[in-house]
Assembly symmetry: C2
Homo-oligomer: 608 residues x 2
Amino acid sequence: MDELDYRFLCELAAQLRVDSVRAAAAAGSGHPTSSMSAAELMAVLLARQLRVDVENPADPANDHLVFSKGHASPLLYAMLKAMGVVSDEELLTFRRRGSRLEGHPTPDVPFVDVATGSLGFGLPVGVGLALAARRLDRLPNHVWVLCGDSELAEGSMWEAFEHAGHEGLNNLTVIVDVNRLGQRGPTRHGWDLAAYAARLGAFGWHTIEIDGHDPGQIDFALADARATRRRPTAIIARTCKGRGVSAVEDREGKHGKPLADAEQALGELGGPRSLTVPMTPPASQGVPYRYADGPLVLPKYELGEEVATRTAFGEALAALGTARGDVVALDGEVADSTKLETFAEAHPERFFEFYIAEQQMVAAATGMQARGWTPYVATFAAFLTRAYDFVRMAAVSRAGLCLVGSHGGVSIGEDGPSQMGLEDLAAFRAVHGSTVLYPCDANQTARLVADMAGLEGIRYLRTTRGETPVIYGPDEEFPVGGCKVLRTGGQATIVAAGVTVHEALAAADLLAGDGVSVTVIDAYSVKPLDSPELVAMATATGRVVTVEDHWPEGGLGDAVLSALAENPVPVRKLAVARMPGSAGSAEQLRDAGIDRTAIREAVLAMLP
Amino acid sequence: MDELDYRFLCELAAQLRVDSVRAAAAAGSGHPTSSMSAAELMAVLLARQLRVDVENPADPANDHLVFSKGHASPLLYAMLKAMGVVSDEELLTFRRRGSRLEGHPTPDVPFVDVATGSLGFGLPVGVGLALAARRLDRLPNHVWVLCGDSELAEGSMWEAFEHAGHEGLNNLTVIVDVNRLGQRGPTRHGWDLAAYAARLGAFGWHTIEIDGHDPGQIDFALADARATRRRPTAIIARTCKGRGVSAVEDREGKHGKPLADAEQALGELGGPRSLTVPMTPPASQGVPYRYADGPLVLPKYELGEEVATRTAFGEALAALGTARGDVVALDGEVADSTKLETFAEAHPERFFEFYIAEQQMVAAATGMQARGWTPYVATFAAFLTRAYDFVRMAAVSRAGLCLVGSHGGVSIGEDGPSQMGLEDLAAFRAVHGSTVLYPCDANQTARLVADMAGLEGIRYLRTTRGETPVIYGPDEEFPVGGCKVLRTGGQATIVAAGVTVHEALAAADLLAGDGVSVTVIDAYSVKPLDSPELVAMATATGRVVTVEDHWPEGGLGDAVLSALAENPVPVRKLAVARMPGSAGSAEQLRDAGIDRTAIREAVLAMLP
C-alpha cells in the first residue's frame, strides 16, 4: 500500500464516520458510535477487498458482506453511499417512514442478504452463505461478516464458530470490532483480544489481532484472510467506540443515540467528503452450479395402510429432491427420527448435518435461500423452539424456509413433555407471513411436502411420530388454504388436524351410534385456514368442536375461532390442558381429553 | 482408594448398567446405551463425592446433580435406587403412565432440580445453581453436571462455559461423557478429547481428560474438581456407548432403544445386584443466606403524568427488592433499556449481568428459583424469543419465573421490526401454566410487577418503550385474571391492552362525537383473561373490536375469541398485519391499523 492509498483510506474512513454521524443526526436516533469504531475496518474492506459488481447486486459471483452487528447500519449505509448505490439525499432519510434505510438493515437494501439486528444471527447466516458458495454454488466468492464484541456472548455465535471451523470454511472471514463497550457498559473481556483469539483458535479458526484503526494492519489482515487456506479467519480488531469525536470516544452511556453536538463532531472529523470508491468486480463470471431437475414421482400409499407422516415426509422429500435440483436439507442430528435420512441417502451432496445446533441450522438455511436454494430444515417440533428468534429474523429477512417439526404433540407417548411439540402451531402461526400445515396421513403429507416448496415465506409442517392410517388416495389434491370435509352431518362440526383427524372420525362413528350426525373437517392448512368453508359448515351445523394435540392457546382452536370471528357460532375447544407425563400414545390422547371419547362427549354436551 | 473400594465401585457401576438395561426393557423404550457409557462416572460420583442427605432432598447444603443429558434417565433412576430413594419395583415402572420416573427427568423425582431432555439446558441451569450457592445462599455445596458430547454442539452450552469460566465458579463441575456416538451417528469430534479440552481451556476451565471407565481415574478427577480453586472443572471422559454388552457397545444405530436381548445382556453384565450406597451427607448444616424483607413502598405516579411502563417496572422492582429479600434480577446487557438498571442500583448484590446470552440468563433464573429465590429476568420482548425453548423447559420443570419483555410492539418506532416484540403474547400464552400481563400505565405496571412475584409458574409481563399517560390512581388494584372497564357504552365493546388502551380511549371519544357509545376494556391480564366480564360486556353490546400491538395470531384477539368461544358475538380483530419498517411511534400505530382512527372505523363498520 503506498502513501496515496493510505491517505485515501484514511479519508474514506473519515467519510464513513461523518456520514454515520450525519445519518443519525438527521434521524434523531440510531447507533453512530457503534458505526464509528468500525470505520477503518469497513473503509479498507470496501476499497481493497470487497469484490462486487456495483451494477448487479444479484451477481452470484459477488462477495457477501453481513453486518452481524446490525445496529451499525449507519456505517453500512455510508458504505453504500461511497459505493454510489445510495445518494447522499437518501442517506439522510435514515430511519424515516418509507425509507429502505431502516434502523437495522433488511434485504430491501442492495447487497444486504438478510435482516440483522438480533445479535448473534448474522454470523450463522454468513456460515450458510459460505457453505452455499463452497458446497452448492461452487463459486470462489468470499463472505465477510462484521461482528460486535458484545455479540460474542451469544451461544449462536459459537455454534457458528464451531461449524465453520469444522468445515474449514476459508471463504469466510469474521471481523470482530472489539470496541470494548456494549450497550450497557464494558463487555466481559474488554480489550483482551487474546481472550477472543484463544477461544477462536481452539475452535479451529485462523486469528489475527490488529489495531482496528490502522489501515495498514487492516489491509494486511484482510488480504491474509482471503489467502488463508483450509480455515476461516477471524480478524480481532481493537477499536474505540465513537472513535474520532472526543465527546463520545470510548465513553460509556453513548450507545444507541445520535451525537449531542453533530456540528461540533463533523468539525472534529474534518467535515463531509464526497469520495466514491471504484469497486473491484468479481474476478470471474459467476455461474453457480445447479443440480438437474427431474420428474416428480411422489411416494404413494395404500388406503388403510398404517404409515407415520414423518416417514412420508422423508420419502416425499427424497422424491422432491430428484424433481428439484434446488432442494437442500438440513439436519439437527436427528435425521433418523425426523426421517430426513431418506433424503440424505438419496441426495447426500445436498444434505447438511448441523449436529445439535438448531440456531445455526436455521440460520444456514436462511443463508442458502438467499443464494437461491430451497432449504428444508427438520428436527423435533419441540426443538425448533430453540431457533424461534432465528425464524422470527428469517421472516424479517423475507426469507423462504421450509421447516418441518416431527414428534408433534402428546401422541409421541413415553418420551414425555420435554420431547413433545405442544406450542409449535402457536409459535409458527405468530410468524409474519407464515404458512402452517399439519397433515394427518401419508399421501397428504407427501403432497404438502412437495407443494410447500412453491410457497413463499416461512412454511412450517408438523409431522407425527406414530403410524396413522392412510385415508386419502395418492392423487388427492390438498391446496394450501383449503380443508377436507370428511363427513357431513347436521348437528355439529368437528374440526381436527393431524393425529386428531382420526379421533374425530372415530368420534363421528360413535356419535352416529348415538343418533347424532356430525360434519368432520380435516384442517390440514392451519394457516391460512379455509375460512369460507369453515364459516359455511359452522353456520350450517350451529356448533363447533375443535380438537388439537397442542396447548389450548394459539393453535388450531384459536385459528378456527379467528376464522369464525365475524360470523360466530359456539365453539368448544379441546386441547392439551395439563402437563403430560410418560404414557402410551393412546393413553396420552385419552388423558389429554383429545381422543374420540372426549370429542363425543364434547359434542353431546353442546347439543340442545 | 483401596482394592475393596475399587471392587465396590466396579460392582456398583455394573449394577447401574444392569438396572438401566432392566428399566428400559421393562418400559420397552428408553436410552440404556446412553446410560451405560456413564455408569462408572456416576458410580464413583455417588459413592465418593456426592454429598446429599438422603432423608432430606430439600436440605440446602446438599450437592446438586443435573443430568444435562436427560435421556440417560435410566442411569439416574438406577442411582436413586442405589441411594435407597427408589425401590426396585418403582424402577421398573419407568416410562409407565403415572410413574414419576418419566422418559426424561422432572422435579417430581427427588434430587432433581429441573426437567431435562432438551439438550443444552441442564448445564446452563447448573450455572444458575452454582451462582445461587456462591453468591446468594453462600453455601459450599457443589454442583455436578453430566453432559453428553453431542450436546456440546448447542450454543447454550458455550454461553454457560463462558459465564461459569468468567465467574470462576469452582463449585461447578461438568462431566462430559464422550461416548463418541450421537443419536444419528458419530459426533463431530469423536474421541478427540483434546478438541474439547482446548475449547474449554480457552474458556477458562480447568480440564481433566480421563478414561471414563476407570474408577481410579474418575475418583482422582472428581476429587481434583472439588478441590480446584477459582475455576470450574470439566472432566472429559472417554467412554463407550453401550459399554459392557457386546451387542451394543460402541455400535451405531443403538441409540434410544432398549437392548434387543435384555436377558443375554444381563448375563454378560453379571446379573442384578442389590448394592446400596451409604451416602455421605453434607459436611455442615446448610443455612442459606437470606436478605431481609422490608416494607413494600411502590412508586406512585400522578394521574395524567407521562411515564413509560418500562420505567415503572424498574422502579417497582427496586421497591419490591427492598420488600422481598428473595427477589433477584437478571439482565441480558440491556438494563439501561429495560430499566432493570434501577434495581441494579438499589440492590447490586442481587443483580446478575449475563451479557447478551438470553438462554443462559433464563436457565440461570431457573436454577436460582430451584434454590428458593424469586428471579426477574428482563430483556427486549423480541430477544426473549431467543430463549423460548428454555422457557418451555422451565415450564416442564414446574419453575417459577418472572419474565419481563420490554419494547413490545410496533410502538417502539424507528428501530424497526428486528427489535419489536410482536409474537411474545402468542409465544408466552402457549406456555403451560403461564400468566401473561400487559399493563398500560405506570401505576398498573408497578402493582402488577409486585403482584407477579406471588404467582406460580411462568409469568410474563410486557412493557412499552414510549411514555404513556397515567390513567389509574396509585391505590387501584389489578387482580390477575381481572380487567378494567374504562368506559361503558351500549353499541360495541373495545378490548385493548397496553399501548392500545390509550388509542381505544381516544377512539371512544371520537365515537362519542359520532354519537356512538362504546365500552372500553383494559385487558391487562391477557392470560388468564377475565372471561365472565368479557362475556357480559360482549353480550350486552353485541359486538367486539379487539386491538393489539402484536401480530394477529395468538395474542389478545385470539385470547378474547377463546373467552367468548361458547357465548359468541361478532368480533373484529385489529392487529399488526404487515411487516413494519422504521417510522415514528404514532406513524407505526397508524400504519399498522391499530390507532384510534382504525378503531373508530372498525366500530363504525360493525354497526348495523
